[in-house]
């Protein structure tokens, strides 16, 4: 999955826009999405779908599959929110909160009104904010997020670690994938027990490879005159676009007004 998001973002059609613009746009929508009425939240989610699928040309099928992720977490939590339990003798005390209820032995099991409200609130909010998150994931390459973090004066150690980790994650992931593929070709994952054993082997091998890469890479760094800090330079090739900036600003203003009206009521 991670290869998927990471390779999609490099081919998205909004890549030429400055990352600061896209990130501040997403940040504004994060705030609006938290504070506003459900219908405004719905509008944000829809509008972002247009940006992501329409403008950035992320395949709709993949975007829909990504949206299923928050949905499944929501579905997992729904029973906890919705179901209420109380002693059978106290059932009348909770009556205002009951949609449907049943007495089973000593307990009273019911569907909670408040739980239903919470669940629907969470649903709208999660969908909206996840759309904002996906807008960042699918249109701003990780490298450019790092540039912005540097500009925002994040501790340099943190940015350096993030940059190195990004590079190493793919290196180790490739090794892990290759090891697992090789094991599969030798019948490694065909039953539960074999599976656990094979996995233990992969993890152990991965530790060795990691230590080995450490030795090799530190030689590689030394040969390039490592000074203790990982400084790099990059050219800026971004072009702001009037058309997209205007749509973003006007849209956000409209949403802010709508939220204002909602609170004024």
């Amino acid at each position: 999955m991670h290869h998927q998001i990471d390779s999609l973002v490099y081919t998205n059609r909004l890549r030429h826009l400055p990352p600061e613009h896209k990130l501040s746009f997403a940040a504004v929508l994060f705030i609006l999405g938290y504070g506003s009425a459900p219908w405004v939240q719905g509008a944000i989610a829809l509008w972002l779908a247009v940006w992501i699928v329409g403008y950035a040309k992320i395949p709709a099928k993949i975007y829909a599959r990504l949206l299923l992720l928050p949905l499944s977490f929501w579905l997992t939590s729904v029973p906890a929110l919705l179901l209420g339990v109380t002693a059978a003798s106290r059932w009348s005390a909770v009556q205002p909160d009951v949609m449907q209820g049943v007495v089973i032995g000593p307990v009273y099991l019911y569907l909670s009104v408040q739980g239903w409200q919470q669940a629907s609130e969470v649903f709208a909010r999660a969908l909206t904010l996840t759309s904002c998150l996906y807008f960042i994931l699918l249109t701003v390459p990780f490298v450019e997020i790092l540039w912005v973090l540097r500009q925002l004066r994040c501790p340099s150690l943190m940015v350096e670690l993030l940059a190195l980790m990004y590079r190493f994650i793919f290196m180790l992931a490739e090794t892990a994938t290759d090891l697992v593929t090789a094991q599969r070709s030798r019948g490694g994952y065909l039953s539960w027990r074999v599976r656990l054993r094979s996995l233990g082997l992969v993890v152990s091998q991965l530790v060795v490879r990691t230590l080995d890469s450490y030795r090799q890479i530190s030689l590689g760094l030394q040969s390039r005159n490592f000074t203790g800090e990982l400084q790099v330079w990059h050219a800026r090739r971004h072009k702001p676009s009037w058309r997209y900036s205007t749509e973003a600003v006007v849209g956000c203003l409209l949403l802010a007004i709508a939220t204002g009206i909602y609170y004024a009521d």
Binding site: T76, S77, A80, L137, L157, L162, L164, T210
Partner: protein, 236 residues
């Protein structure tokens, strides 16, 4: 007999919930609170709680890195390693697959304050590359997975390490580290969504009950796997 349809309804619902818990949600995510799930107050609260831990960890790391710059490579590799581990699927007793977080092993090897930083960075990557977790809920996730988990794992390990039962210490560190992470997640959800009757306690019992199905076997699997790797590391 009048209750019959209601009972049927409830049985159907219970079955549905069970299906949803065991079948639908990839448990890998059940540990991460998804983007937008927490109300704004709680999201901010957990950010404020986690940030000092992160900054303190980063400070102590910076001190080490200044003395020995190449350590940065090792730390980044360790972080990348635990990310890759979390993306590997491990077989769990319930039949569903999820991820070993490697926090336990990391805490034992590197110490909990280093793990706080590495764990937080791994969580950022999980949000950005895998869409697991989120940015507003990052504070809450960092608290449960990169602060409480490692500290408990480390504490448990130190407690048992002297009793020359290293393996048991490692198993307990990894398993309890995983377990406490899931309990904290349940607490966080219960705080954000108290039940109408019974409030926080009732909500906690419900959330903990739902996640227990997947998380307890997972904690045990992770403990076992960590012991396997630990043994192997010592023979290397």
């Amino acid at each position: 007999m009048k209750l019959n349809p209601r009972i049927l309804q409830l049985v159907a619902m219970a079955a549905l919930s069970l299906y949803l818990v065991v079948g639908v949600a990839p448990p890998a995510q059940a540990m991460h609170i998804m983007e937008g799930f927490l109300p704004v107050g709680w999201a901010v609260f957990w950010w404020i709680v986690s940030l000092p831990f992160f900054i303190l960890g980063l400070r102590s790391l910076a001190r080490i890195a200044r003395e020995n710059p190449e350590l940065k490579l090792l730390l980044a590799l360790a972080g990348a390693f635990s990310f890759v581990l979390s993306a590997l699927k491990i077989p769990s007793v319930t039949g569903s697959c999820s991820h070993p977080t490697g926090t336990g092993l990391g805490a034992v090897l590197f110490g909990p304050s280093v793990m706080t930083v590495l764990g937080s960075l791994v969580l950022i990557f999980q949000a950005v590359l895998l869409a697991h977790g989120g940015l507003t809920t990052l504070g809450a996730n960092v608290f449960s997975m990169a602060i409480v988990g490692p500290w408990v794992a480390y504490g448990v390990y130190r407690l048992f390490a002297n009793s020359d039962k290293q393996k048991l210490a490692v198993f307990l560190a990894a398993a309890l580290g995983g377990l406490v992470t899931y309990i904290v997640t349940s607490i966080q959800l219960a705080l954000a969504f108290p039940a109408a009757s019974g409030g926080f306690v009732a909500a906690f019992v419900k959330f903990a009950g739902i996640f227990a199905l997947t998380q307890i076997p997972l904690a045990i699997s992770e403990g076992l796997l960590t012991v396997l790797v630990w043994n192997w590391l010592q023979s290397y």
